[in-house]
């Protein structure tokens, strides 16, 4: 993170920093709403499906497929939120000791690898989206065009990557263990 700050501190104006911060804030807000709504729908869908099946003997057609599609959206919207807040599962064993040696270099490496991973995920998902468009793949039960799902997911992955980068720049100053 310091790596980015060092570059930016000299050049960046407060307005750039502020607008990035605002952009990140909005992104997280939108992702939170998307994921939250999807989760509620998922919850309600299972309930209505079970009630429909037992009480009215009329389950929702393709409920499990809808739930699967909601799941993938929740995951990738959530990934963006995690990235923006730098919340991930890490094992901190030697972490702190090595950080002391050269915090700037250390963080540059760690975060570069994170960005590479996100880039990889976003890229393979975009390829997948193209492929599903090309072959016009559809889901088995609902015959729903998969390209819609893959496109949304790859866009979410892309947003996740940007929120990772923006998050690093914006939160860079007040992150633990990174004395600047």
């Amino acid at each position: 993170m310091d790596f980015f700050n060092l570059n930016l501190r000299n050049y960046r104006s407060d307005t750039l920093h502020n607008s990035l911060q605002r952009f990140l804030g909005w992104t997280v807000k939108v992702l939170e709403i998307i994921a939250g709504v999807m989760l509620v729908i998922m919850m309600a869908l299972t309930l209505v499906d079970v009630i429909g099946r037992y009480v009215f003997s009329a389950p929702i057609f393709g409920a499990s497929e809808m739930i699967s599609m909601l799941l993938v959206v929740v995951i990738f919207a959530g990934l963006g939120i995690c990235n923006a807040r730098d919340e991930h599962i890490v094992v901190e064993l030697f972490d702190d000791r090595f950080r002391q040696l050269s915090p700037k270099f250390y963080h540059a490496i760690i975060q570069m690898l994170s960005i590479i991973t996100m880039l990889l995920i976003a890229w393979v998902l975009f390829e997948q989206a193209l492929e599903s468009y090309h072959y016009d793949s559809r889901t088995e039960v609902l015959n729903f065009p998969l390209v819609l799902v893959t496109t949304v997911v790859s866009l979410l992955a892309l947003i996740s990557m940007f929120s990772l980068i923006t998050g690093l720049i914006v939160n860079g100053d007040n992150k633990k263990g990174a004395p600047s």
């Binding site: 939170e32 994921a35 939250g36 989760l39 509620v40 998922m42 919850m43 309600a44 869908l45 299972t46 309930l47 499906d49 079970v50 499990s64 497929e65 739930i67 699967s68 599609m69 909601l70 799941l71 993938v72 929740v74 995951i75 990738f76 919207a77 959530g78 990934l79 939120i81 995690c82 807040r85 919340e87 991930h88 599962i89 890490v90 094992v91 901190e92 064993l93 030697f94 972490d95 090595f98 950080r99 250390y106 760690i110 690898l113 994170s114 590479i116 991973t117 996100m118 990889l120 995920i121 890229w123 393979v124 998902l125 390829e127 997948q128 799902v149 893959t150 997911v153």
Partner: protein, 431 residues
């Protein structure tokens, strides 16, 4: 085999240096696969694994059960569960610690996370134990260890993930976790009893709970019990699938929270939903990374080399599982349950299959070993959670406090080895 070991070493190194676990496994898996096959094959594999698994209907139990736990966590029911447990156990020596164990157990029955269980019990049980001058060792040790019940007593996220990897029925696994969970609760209580017998000063006498709190506690425990029975009963009777049970559980938890005066504003819903989303995403990124990694490991042929090794040595099922449990114990010092599951289980699947191990039983074994990992140094996640909620407790005391409970868990492990039916009895009844 060699390549797989190099992959594992790089992965461990990356994790030690503080790299994000999920990203590290995904990246190492990707490059390993690309090295063995080709770059194009690796990207295709990553795309397929990421999409297939994040669109897996069976995995939708994860966000829904997490949501159920978050609702329960935010409904302040833990205080009442604790009061009810104390009403039952208060008359015994060390009653507050015994009640902590029981409350952890009942909280776990509606919450699949050890961290949430440990965190909420730290808040609820610690002040009472402090006010009666319980030793910090006993108090914090009980909470940290009691929290680990979260992954054994269903619903349990690690059991869902195990079910996915080992291709076992999630419902059966949940049912299998019930009796071992109860056995562990009893073992933990026994541990507390021995602890206070050896060190009576650790648990001074307490006053019995007053009638009013007792009644309120028991009254609020009933809906929680009902929710557990509906969710698990539905799975057990085959009335609904695990995913349906999780959805109904989340709805039920929301209703309980609402009746208790929570979840009445959009803002409070948002807090819960965002919390559940973040937890879900964190779990899935570790899961997806590990699945990609295991594709690389499978390609390297390591699982089959291990199979040959097992055949050569003519290991029996029990010997093999004991060997795996030992590795899992070592891994538990560093990784948490999900990491252990996804890195370890796929490697041994062919070998396990050839020796005819009961895979439901094996799942319970892996979970109990992961529980030990949650409280052993250097990285005992639950210990750190307790420490973060109770900052003035000394880390040394908590680690010292969990030691007797580690022995209790090891005893539980031995019991499971000696009597596999503890885990397999209920699922077999089911069919």
């Amino acid at each position: 085999m060699m390549l797989a070991l190099i992959g594992f070493s790089i992965l461990l190194a990356l994790c030690f240096f503080g790299f994000r676990v999920g990203f590290a496994t995904l990246l190492v898996g990707f490059f390993g696969f690309a090295y063995e096959r080709s770059f194009t094959a690796a990207t295709a594999m990553v795309a397929q694994q990421v999409l297939d698994n994040s669109m897996n209907y069976n995995l939708s139990v994860i966000p829904l059960f997490i949501l159920m736990g978050v609702f329960i966590y935010n409904s302040d029911v833990s205080r009442d569960l604790y009061d009810a447990a104390y009403a039952v156990l208060g008359k015994f020596k060390g009653g507050l610690a015994l009640a902590t164990v029981l409350a952890c157990g009942s909280f776990s029955a509606v919450c699949g996370s050890t961290l949430a269980t440990a965190a909420t019990m730290s808040k609820v049980a610690m002040p009472s134990m402090r006010s009666f001058k319980y030793s910090d060792k006993l108090a914090t040790g009980t909470i940290a260890a009691g929290g680990t019940l979260g992954i054994m007593i269903p619903p349990s996220v690690p059991l869902v993930i195990y079910g996915l990897i080992a291709e076992q029925d999630i419902g059966l696994l949940f049912i299998a976790g019930i009796v071992p969970g109860i056995v562990l609760v009893l073992l933990f209580m026994l541990t507390v009893a021995v602890f206070v017998r050896l060190d009576p000063k650790a648990a001074p006498a307490t006053t019995p709970s007053n009638e009013q709190r007792k009644k309120k506690g028991i009254r609020s425990t009933l809906p929680i019990l009902l929710l557990f029975i509906v969710v698990l009963g539905g799975i057990y009777s085959g009335g609904f699938t695990a995913t349906e049970a999780s959805g109904i559980g989340a709805c039920g938890a929301a209703i309980i929270a609402f009746i208790r005066g929570h979840l009445r504003t959009i803002a409070s819903w948002k807090i819960c939903l965002v919390d559940a989303t973040i937890t879900t995403a964190k779990i899935f990124i570790v899961l997806l990374g590990a699945i990609v990694f295991s594709q690389f490991i499978n390609l390297s042929g390591m699982p089959y080399d291990l199979l040959d090794f097992v055949d050569e040595q003519q290991l029996t099922a029990v010997q093999l599982v004991a060997f795996i449990a030992f590795i899992a114990l070592l891994m538990g010092m560093i990784f948490e349950a999900i990491g252990i599951l996804v890195l370890l289980v796929p490697v041994f699947l062919p070998a396990l299959g050839s020796t005819g191990v009961d895979m439901i039983w094996f799942g319970i074994i892996v979970v109990i070993v992961s529980e030990i990992g949650l409280i052993t140094p250097p990285i005992g996640m639950n210990v750190f959670v307790v420490k973060s909620v109770i900052p003035d407790a000394r880390l040394r005391d908590i680690f010292a406090g969990v030691v007797p409970f580690i022995f209790a868990l090891l005893l539980g492990l031995v019991l499971l080895f000696m009597m596999p039916s503890i885990a397999t009895f209920l699922p077999k009844l089911m069919g």
